[in-house]
Symmetry: C2
């Protein structure tokens, strides 16, 4: 099955566009997991089990594992998700971007070592830096297009022949997408720009971080980002869900936060087929 088909099948069967971002930061862990052995895996797998009913994808952020030398925990976590929740795709948020043989090694890392279904990539090195990932024809990539941070403007809003760079990146992505494995990352903090991107890319999947802790507008983002069929977006929230509780019931708190986010998103969807 192609990645986009897997994603849409899950969105449809579980009736959700919510992605839970797994950013395990031990200093923010709930009390019962402070100083516990293997706490990164314990925390993430508890969040996964508590929220899986409400998600169309999980998005581990590799920086949090790498800073803690916890690559092994990440491998086990993806494996755990694929065993316990096999219909939920895993998007590895890694924002890789390199050329030729190096990109092949990164592709091997994300798709063979971690066995992610999709990965986030930077577009700065161009089409040939993306190609090695597309050789894995059942996997997907999300190219950074318009990011939700303040400095995102520095490059992404530069005027390229009358349009901002992020729109040009969206346009380029459509020309690189003959195999239909490419999606884009567009932050929820700019709903108008999300609408511009949607107009450019047809039904390409959009990964939309920035709701929750970053303050993105859910209603505006869903309305602007969804396809005419009420799909095509993956709305990602991390901290507001995974750190919803700090005590013994942290997983139940995360579950409630995920359900609430899923329901809020669905309020603004057009009905799916």
């Amino acid at each position: 099955m192609k990645f986009a088909e897997m994603l849409e099948a899950r969105s449809s069967s579980a009736n959700t566009l919510l992605c839970v971002g797994l950013d395990p930061d031990p200093v923010r862990f709930p009390e019962p997991l402070r100083g516990v052995d293997d706490s990164i895996f314990q925390f993430c797998s508890a969040i996964v089990d508590a929220t899986a009913d409400f998600v169309c994808a999980f998005k581990p952020q590799i920086a949090y594992f790498a800073s803690a030398a916890a690559e092994d925990a990440l491998q086990r976590l993806v494996s755990y998700i694929q065993t316990a929740h096999p219909t939920v795709p895993v998007i590895l948020d890694a924002k890789r971007g390199d050329m030729a043989s190096t990109a092949q090694h990164y592709a091997r890392e994300v798709f063979e070592r971690y066995r992610a279904h999709a990965v986030t990539l930077s577009p700065y090195l161009g089409h040939d830096s993306v190609q090695p990932y597309l050789e894995y024809d059942d996997r997907g990539v999300f190219l950074l297009c318009r990011t939700s941070n303040p400095g995102g403007d520095d490059l992404q809003m530069l005027n390229v022949d009358g349009e901002p760079l992020y729109e040009r990146v969206a346009r380029l992505a459509t020309t690189w997408n003959s195999s239909r494995q490419i999606g884009l990352v567009v932050g929820a903090t700019y709903p108008n720009e999300l609408a511009r991107v949607r107009a450019i890319v047809g039904d390409m999947p959009l990964l939309v971080p920035g709701i929750g802790a970053q303050g993105g507008d859910v209603a505006a983002s869903v309305k602007a980002g969804q396809t005419s069929r009420g799909a095509g977006i993956v709305v990602s929230s991390s901290r507001a869900i995974i750190y919803a509780g700090q005590k013994e019931q942290f997983a139940a708190n995360a579950r409630a936060a995920a359900q609430s986010a899923r329901d809020e998103i669905n309020r603004y969807r057009v009905a799916m087929d």
Copy 2:
């Protein structure tokens, strides 16, 4: 000591602008190391010892370690370089690029876990994505500016208000550089563009990959990239040096290739102070 000072001190004392890139690909290892336990560390440390006399820096490419689940070998390798060759800076080629708290975790990975002296970064997310690395005030960053791959044109040559995007990135980098920790990556395959970047950035360090296997022009690159003092560039070669030999004498072959590259580079330098 600041990173740029460490780099210049090493360039000056060892009379070299050559950086050896450490891209350990087990399928290309010399015969004596095929199938050997811990071969990635064994190979890299042998190359390091054989070539150290001729380098101003080593540049491990993290993708090769990550695809092989060899983070531990990378940690030991950097530690080994810092013990055996303490005046040689280590530039971790990681091309990271992410925002805020995630960037802090990547910075912790490269500067605390791996203890690199500098790291390569993507500029696509703008100034605030670079800032967390600059908090480590004795370390440096090299932002991707003009890359040596064919697809580099896709974004980097886009016309931004009359100048190509890569020149705008160079100009932005100078405005982000009040702490003088920033350098740029500019491929050796485009010497004219290297000259344009040098004209924009003053004496900012430039990391110049693309000689050797990628066919960049050494004479043109050194002439275009060096500062008026015959410094300010780090000319990186990986495969042409580390895979110079395939038999027992692979390390001696690498040493000879490094010496030859160092000497060729120096032929086109203006004299240092």
